[in-house]
């Protein structure tokens, strides 16, 4: 079982590939990235695992650490759990049965889509909202990247987070209960979650609001997609519809934009794209937002259809899923279904502990020192050009000033200041160049058509 390591982050920078081009740095919503010695460095405490940097990197230098697929072999029962968006990635000439058959061929013994039986999660969320009337709007904890963002940047909204787990927990417990009812032992069952994003990967490795995740291993959706494509056959496949017996329209749509919002409250809103979310949360924090019951916030554009470990086009994936959903019954049709007997067992398992804020942007724990740093920052800002060019290795002048008061940067890191100092003979030209090389790596400024960061590398 995966134990909780605080602040696990799946993203790493490959020093061999990184060209120190600042694309990642300027795209990060939490200003977590700096360039040091010509390489991108991610400040772990600030990273919310949104994956923007990975997407933006032209050199494909930012990569995910992942579990070895071979790990599944050590279990007698090997369960693959995947979100419905995975099916949306396949061209439509592949049937669900064919995809399921390929997964079994790869070596899994049981195939489960996580959004079943979604009715239980829906009810749990509804009950959790009803219990806590004081903190509105209720904010969904579906997207782990958003949960992390709120913890570090909007601590006052942490209380609004709903105390409910995500579909992968639902799917995992559901599979577990079913297998154990059939006589399997817990330690014979391996649960493997196929993740559409880095955020869910981190959420499984170091979950928030629970001690440890129920899942045994995590699989990159891209990797599995490739494996399935290799193993899939266009021949007719055996009927596996019983494995999707409790999958519903609501479940299939759950991870798309408005997939949750449509179910909760008179006034609900859905916002996708982390930069959009940031803008909205700023307003919400200032109470500049009208009375809203429920907020669905997702880090990716088009929600999980735009997950960073998916290869398909996000709009096409959404469209396919919407079409697929029409073939399934709405969850409400399961009201008198025998599955309801499991409600008493499954629903309590979906409860989440309160998620504590973790404000990492504080300048200093000591208020007086923080105030001093803040005043110093204000003074420094006056000297910086306000061009936000990134040539200092920080995403903007404000961030550089902050690094300076935290002793992580120097005035001479600003290339414009250096230039003026040279003009005023305060610093020699060779010293200035040395300073630049320290930031950007040796020989970075020599003419060489094959050096790192040459034009359009990786595009």
């Amino acid at each position: 079982m995966t134990t909780a390591v605080p602040t696990y982050h799946a993203l790493k920078v490959d020093a061999q590939k990184c060209i120190g081009c600042t694309h990642c740095m300027t795209s990060c919503p939490t200003e977590a990235i700096r360039i040091r010695n010509g390489l991108a460095v991610i400040e772990q405490k600030r990273c919310v695992d949104c994956g923007r940097c990975m997407r933006k990197c032209p050199a494909k230098a930012i990569f995910v650490e992942q579990d070895d697929l071979d790990k599944i072999k050590s279990f007698k029962y090997r369960v693959v759990l995947f979100p419905s968006v995975m099916i949306g990635q396949f061209p439509e000439n592949y049937s669900e049965d064919q995809i399921y058959a390929a997964l079994l061929k790869i070596g899994f013994t049981h195939v489960y889509e996580v959004e079943q039986p979604i009715g239980f999660l829906k009810e749990s969320i509804r009950e959790s909202c009803k219990k806590d009337k004081d903190h509105r709007p209720h904010i969904s904890t579906f997207c782990p990247s958003i949960v992390r963002l709120i913890r570090i940047r909007y601590p006052s909204l942490a209380e609004n987070l709903i105390h409910c787990k995500a579909p992968h927990d639902l799917g995992a417990h559901f599979a577990l209960e079913q297998l154990m009812a059939q006589g399997a032992n817990r330690d014979e069952i391996g649960l493997f979650y196929v993740t559409p994003c880095i955020a869910k990967m981190s959420a499984v490795k170091s979950p928030l609001g629970e001690k440890e995740s129920i899942v045994n291993g995590i699989i990159n959706m891209n990797e599995l997609y490739n494996k399935v494509r290799k193993n899939i056959s266009t021949k007719e496949a055996p009927d596996t519809s019983d494995q999707r017996a409790t999958l519903t329209r609501d479940g299939i749509l759950w991870s798309l934009t408005r997939g949750e919002a449509r179910h909760f409250g008179e006034r609900s809103m859905a916002i996708d794209g982390i930069h959009n979310v940031v803008k909205f949360l700023e307003r919400l924090e200032n109470e500049e937002v009208p009375d809203i019951d429920f907020l669905e916030l997702r880090a990716c554009d088009q929600s999980c259809a735009g997950g960073n470990l998916l290869s398909g086009n996000r709009f096409l994936t959404s469209e396919r899923l919407e079409r697929r959903a029409k073939r399934y019954q709405p969850a409400i049709k399961f009201k008198n279904h025998p599955i309801q007997e499991m409600a008493a067992t499954l629903k309590p398992k979906l409860a989440l502990d309160a998620i504590k804020p973790n404000p990492v942007f504080i300048l200093d724990q000591d208020r007086e020192k923080a105030l001093e740093k803040m005043s110093k920052m204000q003074r420094i800002i006056c000297f910086l050009p306000g061009i936000d060019c990134g040539a200092c290795g920080a995403p903007n002048c404000q961030a550089l000033a902050e690094d300076m008061v935290n002793q992580k940067a120097k005035m001479s890191d600003c290339v414009f200041l250096q230039q003026t100092w040279q003009e005023e003979n305060k610093i020699s030209t060779s010293k200035a160049l040395k300073n630049m090389e320290k930031k950007w790596g040796k020989d970075r400024f020599k003419a060489d058509c094959n050096k790192r960061g040459r034009r359009n590398e990786g595009f």
């Binding site: 601590p155 006052s156 700023e282 924090e285 200032n286 109470e287 500049e288 804020p357 404000p359 942007f361 504080i362 300048l363 200093d364 724990q365 208020r367 007086e368 923080a370 105030l371 803040m374 005043s375 204000q378």
Partner: protein, 136 residues
């Protein structure tokens, strides 16, 4: 430390600039989130008041380790009856302003509710100075 802002009357897109900046600063100072919320709400109301009623305004903010002092001065009509303006729902906002969703008469009462000290000085036909103090 000190922060200064100026506001133009009638430009509703500007309201919220000072409060957003103050929020960012207080967050970095590690001020209690509930306290920040109150300050931001009160300041935002004050900003909207200036935009909605006055021609021009200035905000001066002084932040110490245990308190924040905000002084908002405007050139405007002044407040003829402060007692009445403090009643919830009382508003002198023009129809245009109300149609924009502002001026519901919650400005001053809301500021009072969210500050530890609130002082208003006004000269009818000339100016208003609002001083708000919050302790962290």
């Amino acid at each position: 430390m000190e922060l200064n802002f100026s506001i133009e009357g009638g430009d509703f897109t500007q309201a919220g600039q000072a409060s957003s900046r103050v929020k960012a600063v207080l967050k970095q100072l590690g001020v209690n989130t509930k306290c920040i919320k109150s300050i931001v709400i009160a300041l935002y109301e004050a900003e909207v008041n200036v935009v909605a009623h006055a021609y021009k305004g200035w905000i001066n903010i002084q932040i110490d380790k245990d308190k924040i002092r905000i002084v908002i001065t405007d050139e405007g009509p002044g407040i003829p009856d402060i007692g009445k303006a403090m009643e919830e729902g009382f508003s002198t906002a023009s129809k245009k302003v109300r149609e924009m969703g502002f001026g519901a008469g919650m400005g001053l009462p809301n500021m009072k509710k969210n500050t530890d000290e609130l002082n208003i000085e006004t000269v009818v036909g000339e100016s208003t100075t609002v001083t708000m103090v919050n302790y962290f």
